[in-house]
Symmetry: C2
C-alpha cells in the first residue's frame, strides 16, 4: 500500500489507458482522426500512452503548453485558443523548432497582425460557434466567416487548414439524446460553412471537440477530426451527465482525515480549494457538493460510498457530511479517496500524479514552473 501523508492525486494507469484505447478505437471505427486535447492530463507521459495507440497529433490550450509538448518531441500541435498576437515570439520559436503548428483564428484584424509577425507559414483553423456562445464566429454569420477566410487565403503566411467547433453546450445537457442533437446540428452547420467556402478554399477539414460528444455520438459523417481531452481521465461531471461510468474515472484525490465533529456528523480532511479548485455539482436536494468518497485499496478504489459527500471546501479544508454509520467508521489518520468534480482543474492544481504502484508522473505545471 502507498504511504500517503498529504493530499495526493492518484492515477489509475489501467483505467486511463483503457479510456484512451476506447477513444482511439472509436475514432478508427468512425474514420475520424483523434487529436486528443492535453489540457486535462498536461503530461508528456500520458501523451505517450496516446502515441502508443497511434496518436500522432495533439491539441493544447495555450502556447505555454505547446512549448512543453514541443520540447518533449511532439511535432503536430494545435493550440485550441484564439491566437494571442502578443505571443508571436513563441509562435515563431515553435515554427523554427519544426513544429507543424495549427492556430485558431476568428478575427480578421488578428489574422493580419499574425501574418505580419510570422517568420514562416503556419496552418490555421477558423473557430466557429454553432451555439455554445463562448468563442468563435457564429456559423450563421457567413459574411464575417467568408471575409476572414479570404483574408487568410490572400495572406502570404497563413494556410487555411480547416474549421473548428467546440460544442461545449453539451456540458449543459440532461441526457444523451440532447448531446447527440447538439452534435447533429453542429455538424450540419459546419458542413454548410464548408460548402459555402468552397470557392475560397477547396479543401477544408472539419474538426469538433468536447468529451460528451466525442464519447457518445456515433454519427460523425461530415467530421474529419475530433479533439476531446477530458475523456482521458473523465470525472464526476462526466459521470453525472452519463457520459462515462463511475469506473472510468481514472484519477482520485487521496486526502487525510484530520478531525471529526460528532455534533454535526462532519469530517474534516486535508483537501481544499488549493487541491480541487472550487467546482461543484448539485445533489438530489439541489445542495452543492464538491466530491464523492471512495475507499482506497492497493489496486485502486471502491465504488462511490453512499451516505457521505464533500459538502464544502475552503483553502486547505474539506468538510464531509456523513450519515451515522459512515461517520462512525472513519477515524482521524485515515486517508479517504475523493473523486474530483472536474479532473482538469484538480490535475492543474496538484501538478503531479502518483500511480497505484507509487510512481510519479509528470505534469506541465511542475515541469514549466
Amino acid at each position: 500500500m502507498l504511504e500517503i501523508t498529504r493530499p495526493t492525486l492518484l492515477l489509475d494507469e489501467n483505467k486511463c489507458k483503457r479510456n484512451i484505447q476506447r477513444m482511439t478505437a472509436k475514432a478508427e471505427r468512425l474514420q475520424v482522426k483523434l487529436i486528443p486535447h492535453m489540457k486535462t492530463p498536461q503530461s508528456v507521459e500520458v501523451a505517450g500512452w496516446c502515441a502508443n495507440e497511434g496518436v500522432t497529433a495533439i491539441t493544447v490550450s495555450s502556447l505555454k503548453m505547446a512549448e512543453y509538448f514541443a520540447k518533449a518531441g511532439w511535432k503536430d500541435i494545435t493550440v485550441a485558443f484564439p491566437v494571442n498576437v502578443l505571443e508571436i515570439g513563441v509562435i515563431n520559436e515553435l515554427l523554427q523548432m519544426g513544429v507543424d503548428l495549427k492556430l485558431f483564428l476568428l478575427d480578421e484584424v488578428v489574422a493580419r497582425k499574425l501574418n505580419d509577425g510570422l517568420s514562416q507559414p503556419v496552418k490555421v483553423l477558423i473557430e466557429l460557434d454553432a451555439g455554445y456562445n463562448r468563442t468563435g464566429i457564429s456559423t450563421e454569420n457567413m459574411e464575417d466567416i467568408a471575409l476572414l477566410a479570404q483574408t487568410i487565403v490572400a495572406s502570404d503566411k497563413l494556410d487555411l487548414y480547416g474549421l473548428y467547433c467546440h460544442p461545449g453546450n453539451t456540458y449543459q445537457t440532461h441526457n444523451i439524446e440532447e448531446i447527440r442533437q447538439i452534435w447533429a446540428a453542429a455538424i450540419r452547420k459546419m458542413n454548410l460553412v464548408r460548402a459555402s467556402l468552397k470557392a475560397i478554399q477547396a479543401e477544408l477539414v472539419v474538426r469538433m471537440g468536447d468529451t460528451p460528444g466525442c464519447t457518445l455520438v456515433e454519427q460523425m459523417e461530415g467530421v474529419d477530426e475530433i479533439s476531446a481531452g477530458n475523456f482521458i481521465f473523465y470525472d464526476l461531471v462526466m459521470n453525472y451527465l452519463d457520459v462515462c461510468n463511475e469506473e472510468d474515472i481514472a484519477v482520485v484525490m487521496a486526502c487525510p482525515v484530520v478531525a471529526k465533529n460528532s455534533s454535526r456528523n462532519e469530517i474534516i480532511m486535508h483537501g481544499g480549494a488549493v487541491h480541487f479548485s472550487k467546482d461543484h455539482l448539485f445533489d438530489e436536494d439541489q445542495k452543492k457538493f464538491f466530491g464523492e468518497v471512495v475507499i482506497l485499496a492497493e489496486d485502486g478504489w471502491s465504488p462511490i460510498i453512499q451516505g457521505i459527500r464533500v459538502k464544502s471546501l475552503s483553502q486547505e479544508h474539506g468538510v464531509l457530511l456523513a450519515n451515522d454509520e459512515i461517520f462512525d467508521q472513519i477515524e482521524t489518520g485515515d486517508v479517504l479517496g475523493i473523486l474530483p468534480i472536474h479532473s482538469c482543474l484538480t490535475a492543474n492544481l496538484m501538478k503531479s500524479y502518483t500511480t497505484l504502484d507509487g510512481r510519479k508522473i509528470d505534469h506541465m505545471e511542475k515541469a514549466m514552473t
Copy 2:
C-alpha cells in the same frame, strides 16, 4: 511599461507594504501581537516585508508551507490547520530544525497520537468554534474542551499555549456592524473558555484570525494575538464587504485580449480558471461575475472601469461583457487588468508575482514544486 504577453499576476509593492504597515500599526496600538497568515502571499519576500515592520512570528496553512518558511529562516511558525498525525515526520523535522512550532488540536485522540509520535515537546493551541461551524470544538462544549485540555496538560510532550478561533462567518456578513458583533460575541466566548480552563492551565493566550475582523474591529480587549492573512493583498471579496477600499487591493491579473464578439459585446481574454480559480461575486442583478476590470499603467492601475465585468471563466478563457462605449475602446492585443475575486487562490495558481518594475517575487508553489 512592462512587456506582458501572457496572464501575469502583478503586485503593487507599495500598496502591499502599506497594508502590512497599517495592520502592524493597529496591532501595536491595540496591544495585540500580529502573527500574519502567509496562506495569501505564500512568499518569503512578502514575509520579509512583514519582518521589516517588526513581525517575528507567522501563521501558515499546511506543514508544507511551514517547511518552506522554516527553510527561509522563520523560527516561530503556527500551522493553522488541525494536526495531521500522518505528517508526524515533518513535524519532528521542523522541531529538530529549531522551529518554535505551534500546532492546532481539537480532538483528544489526535492529541494522544501526536504526543506518542513527537521526538520533542511542541506548543499547541486548542481550536475553538464560536459560531463559524467549520472546524474547532464549539465554545459551548466545555466538557470536550476541558477533556482535551486535561489530556494535553497531562501529556509529556504537549505544551498548552493558547486558544484559537477563526470567526470566518465574518465573510458572510453584510455590514461592518455585523462583523463587529461577531467578534464581540467570539471574544466573550473565548474568554469564558479561558476562565473555565484556569484550573487546568493558568496562562493561556487567546488568538483570533480573519481579515474582516482584524481590519475593522477596534475593541480587542481579551485578545492577545491576531493572525489574519488576506489583508496583505485584499481582493474584491474584501472590497465588496467594505473591509478594504478598492485602492488597497495590491494584486491585479494582467490578461491579454484575444478576441471580440460584437454581436454580444463580449471580449475574450487569456485568463481562466487555471489563473483565477472559480470564485465569483454577484452583481446588482444577482448575476455571477468573476472579476472587475482596471486599466494598467506604468505606476499601477486605474480605478474599476464601470460598464465591463468578467462574466464567465472556463479553463483558459475569460469572457468579459462590456457596454458599447467600453467595447469599442478595447482591441485584441490590449492587456487588461483584472482585480481578482479571491487573491489567495489566484496567487496560489499563478505561483509568482511581478512587481510594477518587472521584478519577480517568489511564491511557495514555485519553490516547493
